[in-house]
Symmetry: C2
Subunit: 327 residues, 2 copies
Amino acid sequence: MAARAGVSRATASRVLRGESNVSDHAKEQVEAAAHDLGYVPDLAARSLVTGRTGSVAFLVDETEERMFADPFFLGMLRSAHQVLADNSIQLVFTVANSPEDHRRFVSYAAGGHVDGVLLLSLHSRDELPLQLEQLGVPTVLSGRPLHGSDGLSFIDADNVGGGRLATEYLIGLGRHHVATIAGPQDMCAGQDRLAGYRAALEAAGTAYDPSLVTEDEFTQAGGFDAMTRLMRARPEIDAVFAASDLLAIGAVRAIRAAGRSVPADVAVVGFDDIADARVQEPPLTTIRQPIGELGAGMAQLLLDRMAGAAPAAGRVLPVELVVRHTA
Amino acid sequence: MAARAGVSRATASRVLRGESNVSDHAKEQVEAAAHDLGYVPDLAARSLVTGRTGSVAFLVDETEERMFADPFFLGMLRSAHQVLADNSIQLVFTVANSPEDHRRFVSYAAGGHVDGVLLLSLHSRDELPLQLEQLGVPTVLSGRPLHGSDGLSFIDADNVGGGRLATEYLIGLGRHHVATIAGPQDMCAGQDRLAGYRAALEAAGTAYDPSLVTEDEFTQAGGFDAMTRLMRARPEIDAVFAASDLLAIGAVRAIRAAGRSVPADVAVVGFDDIADARVQEPPLTTIRQPIGELGAGMAQLLLDRMAGAAPAAGRVLPVELVVRHTA
DNA sequence: AGAGTCCGTGAGAGCGCTCTCACAGATGAA
DNA sequence: TTCATCTGTGAGAGCGCTCTCACGGACTCT
C-alpha cells in the first residue's frame, strides 16, 4: 500500500490519520492508492499501539427482560448512542446482572476492548465502578452512587425534588391520605423519590406513616400488587405517589379492579413520563425526567473523561410536573 | 507476568487460553501470578495475531426514532444479544440509514473490528451485504434479500404465508370487501405480505382490486392515514389486513374516528404480534411471527458462519394466526 | 540397549500499525 | 556566505500477544 503510493509507511499512516504536515502530492498519491486497493487500516493493530479502541460499553445491570421492558433504559440507550455516533465512537451493548457477569465484564474492559463504560441501574453498594476506575477505565454512572460519590462521575435526575413535587401536588389537591409506592430501596432512584415524599409530608406538617408506604420493583405487576396491599391495609387512601410510571399504571389498574375510580376516589401521580404515560387511559399525571438529556449528558460526560477531564462530580438535571388526568 | 510465574510467555499464553497440554504445576503457577498481578490479556494484541475480535455488529438500517419505536427491532436485539452473550461474543450496536453511514460502516467492519454482521431492515437492492461478504465479513440478514438470495445468509418469517392466512381468515368470516394496508414495497416484508394477500384473493376467486390496496410506512401514524384514505375511496370496505401491528393499531383508531366499529363494521388483522397487540383495546387479531426465534436464529446462523460454515441459504420460520377481538 | 513416540516447554518470529528520531533540502536571518 | 530554523519524509523500534518449530526428557516397544 505504501509501496503502491510510492511513499514510506510512515507517510501513508500520516495521511490516513489526517495529519496536516504532509505535502499535497503525497497525500493524493496515498489516497489514490488506498482507494484502488480498497485498503482499510487494521483497527486491532492501531489499538495495540495507540491504546484506544474507539468504542465504549453500555452496561445495564438488569435482566434482559427488565432492560427491554423499561422505556427508561431504551431511551438512555437511544440518546447515548446518538451522541457517541456523532463522535465516531461505537457502542458495545452489554447486560450483566450477576456477580459472575460483573467479573467477566471487568476482565473484558480491563483487556482494553473499550475506552470507557456507561453504567446503568447500579444496585446497592456495588464495587463495579470503583474497580473499573482503578483499572483506568473511565466510567460514568446513571444515578447517584449510594456510597457517597467517591470521585465517580454520574448523571441523575432530581429524584428527591420530583418526589417532593408529586407529593406536594397531591396534598395541594386537598387529599388527606397520601400513600406512596416506593421503588427498590437498594437503588438511588428508589431511595431518593421516597425521601422526596417524606420531605413533602414534613413540610406540610403531616407525620410520616409507614403503613402508607410500600415497596415493589419498577414494573407494572409490582404496581398492581403494591396498590392492592395498600388499599387493603388502609382503605381510606385517596392519593398515591408511584415512584415510576410503570408502577403508576399498575396502580391505576388495581384501583379500578377494586371498583374505585381515578382520580375521583384515588389520585395517582407517576414518575418518568414515558411515552405510554401520555396514551394511557386515563393519561397519567407524572413527573417528567429528561431521559434524552440524561442519556446524552451521560455520554458527553464520558467523552470528556476520555479526553482527559478529571472525574467530575455528578450532574443533576431538573424534573417537572406534568398534569394530565389521574391527579 | 510470565517471569513472575517462572515460565515462558508461551506457556503463560497457553494457560490463559485454556489449552490442555500444560502441566498442572505450570498451570497453577500462572494462574496464581495472574491473580496476584491482576493481569488481564490485552485484547487488541490478541486480535492482531488471531484476526478475530470476539464481537459482532448489530446494524439497523433505520433512523434511531424508527428503531426504538418498533418492538420488532427491540425483540430482535434482545434475542440476538442473548445468544451472542451465551457464546461470549460482544454485540456492537449500530444504526446506519444513509449511504454515508453505510460507507463508514463498511470501513469499520473491513478494519476488522467485528467478526461478523447482523443486518436488519435492509431496503431495496442495497449493496451493503454483498460488499461485506466480499471483504470477508460474514453477514446474516433479517429478511430475504430482494435481489435473489445471491448466496447470502438470511432468516425470515413466512411473510407470504402470513399475508395469505390473514386474508383467508377475513374472507372466511364472510367479508366481501377485504382491503389491505401494505408496508413499504422496497422491503421484502412489505412485498411478501402483499403477495400473500393477492394469493388468498386469487385462491378465493376474487379479482385483485388496486383501489383496495394502499401503502404506508410501518408506523401507527402510517396506519391511521392509510385507513383514512381507504375508507374515503371505498366506503364499503368491511375488512382490512394491515401488514404490521403498528399499522393495524393506527387503522383501528382511524376506523373509530370515522364513527364505525371494530370488528362489527370493519374487521382488522395485523401482523407481528407485538406485546402491545395483546393489551390493545380491543385486543388485536394478528399473525404472530416468532421474534425471539428469529433473533436467536439469526445470531446462531452468524455464529455458524463465523465457525466456518458456508453461506447457507436462508431459513424461513412459520407464522400463526392469533384470533383476538378485532376480527 | 537402542530406536521410536509422546509430552511439556522455550525461543523467536511476526501480526500491522504508530511514533520517535534523524536527516536532507529549502528558507530566512545575520 | 554561514549558521539557524523549518518542513516533509524515511528508517526502525516496539506495542503485547500467538503460534510454529525444535528440543530435552520420560516412556514404550522390540
